[in-house]
Amino acid sequence: MSKEQNSIGKSVVDLPANVTRSIFRNPLPSSDRGRAATSFTNFFLHVQPVRVSRQALRPSYTMGLGLISFFLFVILTVTGVLLMFYYVPSTTQAYDRMLDLRSSVVFGVILRNMHRWAAHGMVACVFLHMCRVFFTGSYKPPREFNWVIGVCLFGLTLLSSFTGYLLPWDQLAFWAITVGTSIAGYAPLVGKAIKFILLGDATVGQEALLRFYVLHVVVLPLVLTIFVAVHFWRIRKDGGLAKPETEAAPKRVPVQVEIQEDAVPIAASGSVAVAAPVRKFTIQGLVRGPLIKVGKLEEDTVFSWPNLLIAELVVLLLTIAGVMLVSFFFNAPLEQPVNVMHPPNPAKAPWYFLGLQEQVSYSAFWGGIGVPGIEVLLLLLLPYIDRGKEGVGRWFARQRIFANSIFLFFVLVNIYLIVIGTFFRGANWQFVSPF
C-alpha cells in the first residue's frame, strides 16, 4: 500500500464507485453465481428464491393476482399517506376536506380516485387470488397454514376497506357504515359489544369516525403488513408456488449440497477444467424434511434474476397503469354531507358486503352471522378437512372436481347475492330492475 493510494485525490475519483459498492454488494450479474448472489445479498430481493420454476412464471397459472393485491396495497399506502396530509378525522371538517381535495388541492382528485379504486380493486384481487389458490389446489401440505394466513389477510383487507369507507363523512359513508355495523350487531352474545367497540357510541358519530380513522391508517395497515410478511416468508419456506408433483416420487436423498465457487469463467474448451483454488462447501443437516426440495434441483427452473424480476415489474407497472387509467376517467363518489335525519332508501353497505346485506334481508342472524360465520370457519379449516394429495398445481384438476365444484358453488352464490344486492334492490329493499 503506497501513500498515493490513500490520497484525497484518489478518494474523490473513486467516490462514486465506492458508494455504489457499499450499497450494492454485487455488481450487475453476468454469471449464474452472480445471479444467485444478487438474489440473496439484496434485502429487497432476498425474499425471492434464487431460481424459480417456469410454471410459477406463467401468467396463465397465477394471473399475478397475489402480486397485484400486494402492489395495490403499496399504492394504497403511498396515496393514503399523501391523503393523510389533508384529512382531518372530525365530523365538522372531514367533508370540507373532501371538497378541498376535489377542487383545490393539486392532484387531490387523482390521489383520492387512485386510493378509492385501488381499495375496491384490492378487495376484488385478494378474493380472486383466493379463488386461484383454491382452484389450483395450492393449499395442500405443506401450505396449509399459509392458506389460513391468506384467509386472515382477506378479512383484514375487507376491514381496511370498510373502515376507510366512513372517512369521507358523506351520506354514502355514514349509512353504509350504519348498515355494516348493524350487521355486526346481530352476532349473538358479543354482537352488541363489537358494535359498541367499533362505534364508541350507540350510533355512528365523532367517536366512530376517530376509531375508524385510527384503525384505517395505523392498526389495520400495520397488522396487514405483518401478515403479508409472514405470508411471503411462508411461500419461500414452503418451497415456492405449488407445482404439480413430477411423475417419479422424490427420492429421499441425503441433504448434501455442493456449491462451487467458479473463480474464473471456465473456458468452454472442453479440456480439463482447470480451476484456480476451488473451495467446497458441504451443508449437512441444516435443513431437512419436506420444506425445501434440497438436492432435487428441478430442471424446469430459471434464475429469478432477471426473469422473475421483470415479470414482477411488469405486473407492478400494469397495476399502476390500470389504477391510474380508471382514476383518470372515473371520479370517486362523494355524496351529500352526512344528514342523520335523512337516510337514503335503500341504505346500502359497501358492495362487498351487499351479499351479506342481501342475506340479512332474509334472516338477520343466519344471513348476517350464521351463514358467513360458517363460511369463514370452513375457509379457515379447509386445508385440514381436504387432505387429498392429488391435483396440486393445476387449474381445475380432474381429481379435485368435487372440492372445486363445491367452492365454485359458494363463489357463484356469493357473487350472485352481491349482484342482486347491488343492482336489483331499490327502496325498502324491494326487487327492482336496474334497466
Partner: protein
C-alpha cells in the same frame, strides 16, 4: 416479457403525463392570457404595455378575514377584470363587476370607488359559492353537493327543474346583504323585510321558532335554516311540503310566486350567527329576547290598536294575521282548516278562548299551533268570531252539502275533501255503505246537529234548521250511501257499565288492552298502533278525552263486543271477550280520560 415491460412502462408514462396535464392545465390561465392580451391592446402607455407583456398567469388569491372564519377566495383568477372599468362590456368571466350608486359606490374624478371593496369583502360573502375552486363548476358550486352555490345564479344538478326556474335573479343576494344590514327598513333588503312580514302574516311563526323572532314548536327550528338548506329545498318545501319530506305535517299554503320568493329569501337569510357579529353579540340578542311575545308580533299588535271596538280589532287580526292562511272566512279560503264563516253559531266564547290558548284542549289531534299572541288578541279575535252569526242562505240540500260539507267530506262524499289530510280524525267516508247503513239514523242526525266532540266536525244545529239537516242526510243517503239502512238485530247491551270502576278493574282492563288492542290502537291508546297505517278509517285515538267523554258506555260496549261495521274493528265477542272483560276495558279507557283532564 421484455416487450410487455416496455409497453407497461409506456402506458404508465403516458398515464402520468395525462394526469399531470389534466391537473396543471386550467381554464383560468386561458382567461388571464386573454385578459393580458386585451388589456395590452387598450393600454395607453408603453410602460403599461411592457408590464403586461411580461405577465404570466398565476392564481389570484384573496383571504377575507373580516367575516367570521377566514375565507380563501380565488375568484379573481378567472374574474381578473372585475375591478378594471375598461371591461364593462366584455364577456364573462372578463367582465367588470358593475358599479352601483345604490350599493354605495361613488363616482369621483372620472373614477368609480367601491364601497364594498373586493379586497375587504371578497366575493363569497355576498354571492356564496366556493372561493377555493379553480374551475367554474367548483367555484360557482354547481356540483350538487356543494352546500352554498352562488345565490340566484347557480341551479345545481339535482334541483328540480320547476323550482330552478324561480330561483334565478340578483334579488336572492339580499339574503346575504341582510347578514350585516340587519335594519328592517334598510332599502337594500326590502325583499327580506317582506319575507319577514309574510312569516307572520301567513302564520309561519305559529309552528316555527326563529331565535329572537318567533317561538313556535310544532315545526322545525328555522334559526339556521339558511345555513342548512339550499334555495331549491326552501322553495320546494313551501310549494309542496311533502315533496322532500313525505311525513311533513306542514300545510300547503296558497301563496303567490312573489310571496314564495320573499319567504325563501327571508329564510335564506336566517343563518344563525351572522358573520358580522361575534358570539357575545349573539348572546346579548338571545338574552334580550326573553319576552314570550316576539317583538314583531307586539309591533303588529300596536299597529292594529287603532281599531275602535274589540271585535273590529279581532277582525283585523284574523284577516291580516295568520288565520286565513289556513281557515276559510266568507270568500277567502286557505284550503287547510275549518270554515270560520258561521263560527258564532257553532262555538261559544269559552270554547274559542280555550281553543286559542291550546287548540289540542278541544281537538286532541288538531294541527293548529298555539300562537304566541297576547291574551288580549285572543279575546278580540273571539269577540269577532262570536259576531259571525249569519246563517247560510237556504238552498237545496245538494248545494248545502257542496258549500258546507264538501270542504272536508269531499265533493264525492268519500271523506277526501281538499282539507281532509289536515284533519285528525279524518272526515267520515260517506260512501262506505257498510258503516253508514248500520248506524241508527238518530246517531247520524246527532253527529250533524251537535257535532262530534274532540274532532273537527262542528255542531250545525244553529247554522242549519232541523229540516235542512234531515235534507242533507237524505241527500247523503241518496247520493253516496245508496243502500237501505240495515235492521240490526236487537243486541243485549248494558246502558251503563256493569263493572264498577276500581283500580283492580282498570288494571285488568289494561292488561287485556295490552294483549288485544295495541296492534291497532297503539300502546299509548292514541290510535297509532303498528297496524294503524294500513287501516281506514284510522283506529280511534282513545285518549281523545272530549270524544271519549261524549260517548256512552252503551256505545263503547257495542263497538267492542259487536265491532264497528265498515271499519277494521272486529267483534270481540267472537274472540272470547266476556261482558266483564269489556267492562274492564271500558273502565281502563275511561281512566285515560278523567273529567277535567
Amino acid at each position: 416479457m421484455r416487450l410487455a415491460l416496455a409497453v407497461a412502462s409506456l402506458v404508465v408514462m403516458v398515464g402520468s403525463g395525462a394526469v399531470v396535464y389534466k391537473e396543471t392545465q386550467a381554464s383560468w390561465q386561458d382567461h388571464q392570457r386573454a385578459y393580458f392580451a386585451q388589456a395590452k391592446a387598450q393600454a395607453k402607455s408603453d410602460a403599461e404595455r411592457a408590464s403586461l407583456s411580461v405577465k404570466t398567469p398565476k392564481i389570484e388569491q384573496t383571504i377575507v378575514t373580516a367575516f367570521g372564519t377566514s375565507r380563501v377566495e380565488r375568484c379573481e383568477s378567472c374574474h381578473i377584470a372585475s375591478d378594471d372599468p375598461r371591461f364593462a362590456s366584455a364577456e364573462e368571466p372578463l367582465k367588470t363587476h358593475p358599479y352601483s350608486a345604490a350599493m354605495g359606490d361613488t363616482y369621483k374624478d372620472g373614477r368609480w370607488e367601491r364601497k364594498h371593496k373586493f379586497s375587504e369583502f371578497g366575493c363569497t360573502s355576498c354571492h356564496d359559492g366556493q372561493g377555493r375552486g379553480l374551475t367554474k363548476a367548483d367555484a360557482h358550486g354547481e356540483d350538487e353537493y356543494w352546500p352554498t352555490p352562488m345565490l340566484g345564479y347557480v341551479a345545481q344538478a339535482d334541483w328540480k327543474k320547476e323550482n330552478a326556474a324561480h330561483l334565478h335573479g340578483a334579488e336572492f343576494i339580499q339574503a346575504n346583504c341582510a347578514q350585516c344590514h340587519k335594519d328592517r327598513n334598510f332599502a337594500g333588503t326590502a325583499i327580506v323585510a317582506r319575507g319577514r312580514e309574510l312569516f307572520f302574516k301567513e302564520g309561519c311563526f305559529g309552528c316555527h321558532r326563529i331565535q329572537g323572532i318567533s317561538s313556535g314548536t310544532i315545526g322545525p327550528d328555522l334559526t339556521e335554516v339558511g345555513k342548512e338548506r339550499k334555495l331549491d329545498y326552501l322553495w320546494g318545501h313551501i310549494v309542496d311540503p311533502r315533496a322532500y319530506t313525505p311525513t311533513s305535517v306542514m300545510p300547503q299554503f296558497k301563496l303567490s310566486d312573489d310571496d314564495k320568493k320573499a319567504l325563501v329569501i327571508f329564510l335564506k337569510s336566517r343563518r344563525g350567527s351572522s358573520p358580522s357579529e361575534s358570539s357575545v353579540d349573539q348572546y346579548k340578542v338571545e338574552a334580550s329576547n326573553t319576552a314570550p311575545v316576539p317583538d314583531s308580533v307586539a309591533e303588529v299588535a300596536t299597529a292594529i290598536t287603532a281599531a275602535k271596538t274589540p271585535a273590529e280589532r279581532g277582525r283585523q287580526l284574523i284577516e291580516g294575521y295568520a288565520c286565513l292562511s289556513c281557515h276559510k272566512l266568507d270568500d277567502h279560503d286557505g284550503g287547510i282548516s275549518p270554515d270560520l264563516t258561521h263560527e258564532g253559531l257553532m262555538r261559544d266564547r269559552s270554547w274559542l278562548m280555550s281553543h286559542f290558548q291550546n287548540p289540542r284542549s278541544q281537538i286532541t289531534d288538531s294541527n293548529m299551533p298555539t300562537f304566541a299572541l297576547p291574551e288580549k288578541d285572543f279575546d278580540d279575535m273571539s269577540a269577532y268570531l262570536m259576531t259571525r252569526t249569519t246563517m247560510p242562505q237556504a238552498t237545496t240540500p245538494a248545494q248545502t252539502f257542496q258549500t258546507l260539507c264538501a270542504r272536508c267530506h269531499g265533493e264525492k262524499g268519500n271523506g277526501q275533501g281538499p282539507n281532509s289530510i289536515y284533519l285528525d280524525p279524518a272526515p267520515r267516508d260517506l260512501t262506505r255503505a257498510e258503516f253508514m247503513s248500520t248506524k241508527p239514523q238518530l246517531r247520524l242526525i246527532t253527529s250533524i246537529h251537535d257535532g262530534v266532540a274532540g274532532t273537527s266536525m262542528p255542531p250545525w244545529g244553529k247554522t242549519l234548521t232541523d229540516a235542512q239537516i234531515q235534507g242533507v242526510l237524505d241527500y247523503v243517503w241518496a247520493a253516496y250511501v245508496k243502500e237501505k239502512p240495515h235492521q240490526i238485530k236487537a243486541r243485549k247491551l248494558p246502558d251503563a257499565n256493569p263493572v264498577a270502576m276500581s283500580a283492580d278493574s282498570i288494571h285488568r282492563g289494561e292488561s287485556i288492552f295490552l294483549q288485544r288492542c295495541t296492534g291497532c290502537h297503539g300502546r299509548k291508546a292514541d290510535g297509532h298502533g303498528p297496524n294503524s297505517i294500513d287501516i281506514t278509517p284510522r283506529p280511534r285515538n282513545l285518549t281523545n278525552t272530549a270524544f271519549v267523554q261524549s260517548v256512552s258506555d252503551r256505545r263503547l260496549f257495542e263497538s267492542i263486543e259487536y265491532g264497528v261495521d265498515g271499519t277494521a274493528m272486529p267483534s270481540w265477542i267472537d274472540y272470547g271477550l266476556s261482558q266483564n272483560d269489556v267492562g274492564d276495558i271500558v273502565n281502563f279507557i275511561r281512566s285515560l280520560n278523567k273529567p277535567g283532564k
